[in-house]
């Protein structure tokens, strides 16, 4: 007995076999995104009308590069988790659902990798 709860003895971890991992990761990224999204919105707003040099100067600063990378990563992880729920709710055929779930992961990784690569190219 670890925590004495019946849940601790459940072997299959529910119908998705992942327990509360999805729920928990969605909340953790949500909490992280509150300050990060506000920071992103304010930063993007301040660059309205500015030319590329101003944007580069902003993204070249280590603190901004790091925060932007964290924002993008938290956002695409949160996005993948959210879209996964949408697919699981609305896609009924098992085959089509599996394809969509995989494409969903690919999309999140692609967007995340492209953003991080651009940030590294600017900052390094």
């Amino acid at each position: 007995m670890t925590d004495g709860s019946p849940a601790a003895r459940v072997e299959g971890l529910g119908s998705a076999h992942t327990g509360t991992s999805h729920f928990f990761r969605q909340r953790v990224t949500a909490v992280a995104l509150i300050p990060l999204a506000i920071w992103f919105a304010v930063s993007a707003f301040r660059l309205i009308g500015a030319d590329r040099d101003a944007a580069l100067a902003f993204l070249h600063a280590p603190i901004n590069a790091i925060l932007m990378a964290l924002f993008v990563i938290a956002a695409v992880v949160h996005m993948a988790l959210g879209l996964q729920m949408v697919i699981e709710d609305y896609a009924h055929g098992e085959g089509g659902k599996l394809v969509l779930l995989v494409l969903n992961k690919f999309f999140a990784w692609l967007v995340g990798a492209a953003c991080v690569f651009a940030l590294l190219k600017i900052a390094v």
Partner: protein, 137 residues
Amino acid sequence: MPEQAKSAKQRPLSPHMQIYRWPVTMATSIIHRATGMALSVGTLLVAWWLIAAAMGDAQYDLFSMVARSPLGQLVLFGFVWSLAYHLLNGIRHLAWDVGYGFAVPTATRTGVLVFTLSIFVAIAVFVYAYAAKGVHL
């Protein structure tokens, strides 16, 4: 038994989308999902902006030109409102997760508050951008 089959067929559908009056909490829930999906498309805009900045002046100018166009402004307004709504309503969801605000009158009140605030924030951002930044279409 045909009679039973007939009565089963005539059962009322609930909720019937055309006649069902949406409670506030139902509307805020579906809008949360819709804005989340819109923000997924929005990540492509963020990616485009960052990649354009990394690539060169011509690419950045193209991004700026599209963003400044009427269609670009409309899309950006949708992005800003979606972000404002999803962020504010997300905080509402997190409050529920730790056990606050579950009473129906409270959830309805916070739902109206979040929706109203999100519209206000989106409009304020654009009014401020046009007025203080001198941005024009």
